[in-house]
Assembly symmetry: C2
Amino acid sequence: MRYTSGMTFLPSACPSGDEKVQLFGLLLETNARLARSLGLELESSCELPLAWFDVLLQLRRAPDGRLKMNQIADAIVHSTGGTTRLVDRLEEAQLVERQNCPNDRRAIHVAITDKGNVKLDEALGVHLEYLEGTLANRLSCDERATLATLLTKLNRPAKP
Amino acid sequence: MRYTSGMTFLPSACPSGDEKVQLFGLLLETNARLARSLGLELESSCELPLAWFDVLLQLRRAPDGRLKMNQIADAIVHSTGGTTRLVDRLEEAQLVERQNCPNDRRAIHVAITDKGNVKLDEALGVHLEYLEGTLANRLSCDERATLATLLTKLNRPAKP
DNA sequence: TCAGTATAGTTGTATATGCAACTATTTGTC
DNA sequence: GACAAATAGTTGCATATACAACTATACTGA
């Protein structure tokens, strides 16, 4: 969303609900722009869709290099159905593989393959370069830390 | 993206590129969760898809209550083709209308209708209530102002 | 004025995604 | 132990979106 450019957000003001609407819109817009430009970058440089990159990164971060389907779905904020199809495509490209889960025969382990790790490394190179041009150039180190803290607070699931 | 919960981001550290990867992932994840929950909320309460809400809000913010197609596309970060279809649907629901642009016969003005304004008001009620449960409950007024400032910096288009 | 180029929007086509219904397995309860 | 409820994942179907090719109009320079 594009709001009046140069608009300032004074801490002392904080009056109307519109301030929150604007902030939320700003969050949506910022994210959409960054995701789109990164997606194009990854796609053109590595032929790796952003969603694939996201899955591979989750898997690498996982303790064992593998996650169950529902863990992936939650981590990347997709539906379970969508995740099934997404993993189908990743598996067809041999970047991940499905493994049986010994304890629970309903569940599926999804593990990153060697080929997947190579691809992810390649993509991380592109990603880091991209981040230098966006995050690093526009926000100081302290500002990034502050942003991370605020987003973490925002990201907490709602209380039941 | 789900990273180790409870992770802290110390300003003094700021070492590896991974800090930026994490921050970027956090931004994607936060946005996805918020957008999804708001979308479900708007859809179930008002039968208004989030994308429709976004368009209507942009139109209301516009000086004249109307924007050209490419302005909408840019504001909501969609392709022009996608925007054409989106506006098609909104127009079919009589929430907006296409108008000829006298100066430029290539261009189309999209204007919000009375019905669209009513719908938007309804949706804004839901939206504000939702925001109380997310933004307002999780971030203080100052924190929201800080977040808005940081996002605005991030959102600036890259230098040519 | 005219040719060439740029811009605004639409449309054909492919794909990615969500939701709901479904199967298979596990867990809980009596 | 058996039946009910919960959980994990897949699939059919509908829809939203992007990309690229296309049409129509406007601009630019000789």
